[in-house]
Each structure stands twice: as structure tokens, then as C-alpha cells.
Symmetry: C2
Amino acid sequence: MDFFETVEKRRSIRKFTEKSIPPEVVHRALDAAILAPNSSNVQTWDFYWVKSPEKKSKLIEACLSQAAARTAAELIVVVADPSLWRRSQAGLIAYTEQVNAPKLVKDYYKKLIPITYSYGWFNSLGLIKKILYNCVGLFRPTPRSPATMRDLQEVASKSAALAAQNFVLAMTAQGFQTCMMEGFDACRVSRLLGLKSPARPVMVIGMGQELPDGKGTWGGRYRIDKNLVVHEI
Amino acid sequence: MDFFETVEKRRSIRKFTEKSIPPEVVHRALDAAILAPNSSNVQTWDFYWVKSPEKKSKLIEACLSQAAARTAAELIVVVADPSLWRRSQAGLIAYTEQVNAPKLVKDYYKKLIPITYSYGWFNSLGLIKKILYNCVGLFRPTPRSPATMRDLQEVASKSAALAAQNFVLAMTAQGFQTCMMEGFDACRVSRLLGLKSPARPVMVIGMGQELPDGKGTWGGRYRIDKNLVVHEI
């Protein structure tokens, strides 16, 4: 499907038909998801495709049993976990060697990433970094974040959102629809998936075939005036 | 361009040619951006297209003068601001009336959104909500977030990321490339744009024509094994 047609067609669907989704469709969307840009390319995301009926029913409950979860043919939890930089680091270092990347890039993955992603016991290092960044920032342009665990969690959650957007578009491009849900009990979802801090579920995506005649949504698509949102300065 | 071809072709480009971008290309990408799904459809995002040479050079400086900013034909700052629910609310209420949405949806925009997006002086209400959610959560599935200002900022930043992803794909689909930057001085960018808390710049997007022969990146595309990232449970 054409890119702009895909963007136009994608809607958040609250109610799906009973049609199942061929697994290869979901896999193709996952392939698209992991091609999304992400912070420093450390790929601090995980995708839990919840298939076991028992776990699925617990997940639906944690999503407050909303129709978009209840009627979904498949459910995927998008998890953001800044500590996953450790999973990618060795591969990234090997890859920068293999393609003979500039020294700056090699050092970035060897030395700078471990410093950037450390926040110490009880955020001690994170708070020191925060103070330091703001002091240096008085004199020259300095990124003030990420410093604390929460900052890093947010960076990971932003990257996970980029992947999630690729995912939902890829489902639309293949004739299915999705609903991104944020209204869920994150504690219960974390327990279900066995997540440990700093990992957090940042989105649950329900997917399936859209009900005909627009019955899967409560109305058309509403956006405020573009001129309120875009500022040319 | 085909959707999957667009996803494959999109790369984060660090160095652009001197070719300018026709404004209608950027506008079409902005149109795609604001069609992204977003939390409760309250559209708490702003896009600052920095055109004035003076402001642009200050923005480049705030982006640590990195090549992706310095060589970009155009620069857009993506801002997430949870307080912007107020800008959308009247239109959303009018729209739900116009299409005669279910009462639940109408009430959601009239009553629930103002409660959800309030955090009180010095986060007082936010902290009370956090305690309350966690107490209720002991007994039944309850969303634990957003409660505090930071939670709301993160929700807005996640939604802004979804729009940003549509934007970068739309630029690729039209033959240009982009670089999402998070390494910038958020204080200096906020000052430049005149932003006030809780608004925050969450991403700066540089865009232009890719240098030929892969000279705009330091190497190919590296992703860790999909089996590490996708968990079927």
C-alpha cells in the first residue's frame, strides 16, 4: 500500500471482528517496527506477543477489559527498558569495527554509552549528572537529559513509541487495524510479563480486522486546525 | 512510495547536500504527522519550523552544532506540552456532539480529561492521585499513570514521538531524509521558542537530501537479532 494511503487509512479501532490474523502479517509488522530510528541505536525495546489464552485473559483484564483489548485477535505489549543497552552493546561495537566506523562512533559505544546509561544506586549518579549538566550548561550548550533513571526510561519509551508507530502503520498496510492503548494497569502487566525496573510496559497494541461500516470507531477522525499546531518562526 | 519500501529506505542521515526542500514537501509531512494516533486525541503537540536564519543558527548551536543540524536544509522542533489539552477540548466536545458520539465519550472530554490532566500546585494533586491509584490498584486493575506533571509530560512526549515517526517516514516517501536528534540543550531550545513548563522540546528533526554513496551515514544499518526482541508468550 502507498505510504500516504496507509497514513490516511490507519485509525484506532475500538472493536474488531472475529477474524484471525495470519502470524506472518504480525511478523512483517514487527520487522517494520524494529527498523524505526531509536536513541543511539541501542534498541532498548521488547515486544511481548501474548498468545497463551490464560495470559491473554489476564492482559485483557489489566487493560480494564476495554473492547479494543477484549475483541483483539492479537495483543502485543511494547516494553521500554533502558537497561537493555547492555544487550546491544557488544553487537554494536563489533559492527562499528566491521564497517570501520569513525573512531568517535566506536568510542561512543565503548565508553560514552555505559556512562550515559548509568544512574547509580538510588539515582545517586543520575542526580550528580543532572547538577553537572546544568552547571556546564550555564556556559555552553549541554544536553540536560538523560541523567536520572526516569530520564532514561523516558528516552526508551520515546524510542519504543517510534517502533510502535511503524508497527501500527504496517498492520494497516496489510489490511488490518490496531488500537494503541495506554489505559492499562502497568503494575499488573509488569507482573504478568515478569518485568523488573527500570523496564516498563509503555503501550499495549490490540489488532484485528475492523468492523464494517465504521462500527469500530465512535465517529470520523477529528484534528484541530493545523495552523494552531504548526508554527513557522 | 510503497509503505514497506519507505520503512526500508528511511535512515537517520548525519550529513545532507545543499539542496533545498520545496515547502510543500515539508507541509505534506506535517499533514501526515498530525494524523498519528495520540493519547486521548488531545493533540498535545506543537511543531516549530525554524526558518529565520538567526533563530536557526541558535538552534544549530543548541544541537551542539552536530552535522545533522548544521547541514540540514530545514529544522523542526517537536514540542510536547500536556497543558495543550485545553486548546483541543472545546473542539473535541463540539465534534462528539456533531457526530453524536456515545455519552461515555462525550463525558470523557467534558469531565474526565480535565481531571486526568490536572496535577495541582507543586504536583500536589498529582501525588494524591498517584497514592489513590495505587490504593485502588490493590483491589482491581487501575491505570497508575498519568498522575504527576512528569507522567503527563511523558504521555505527551510519547504521542509527539508517534507524530514524529509519521513525519520522518513521509519525508522519505517524498525522496528526502531526516535525522531525529535528542542530543540538544533543552533549556536553550525552550528559551529560543519561548516555551513554558510543562512544555518541553522532545526532538529536533533535521532534514534534507541525503549525500550520495552512503556518505551521509557512517555505515549500514545494524539491528540486533529479532529473536532477542520479540517474545511470544
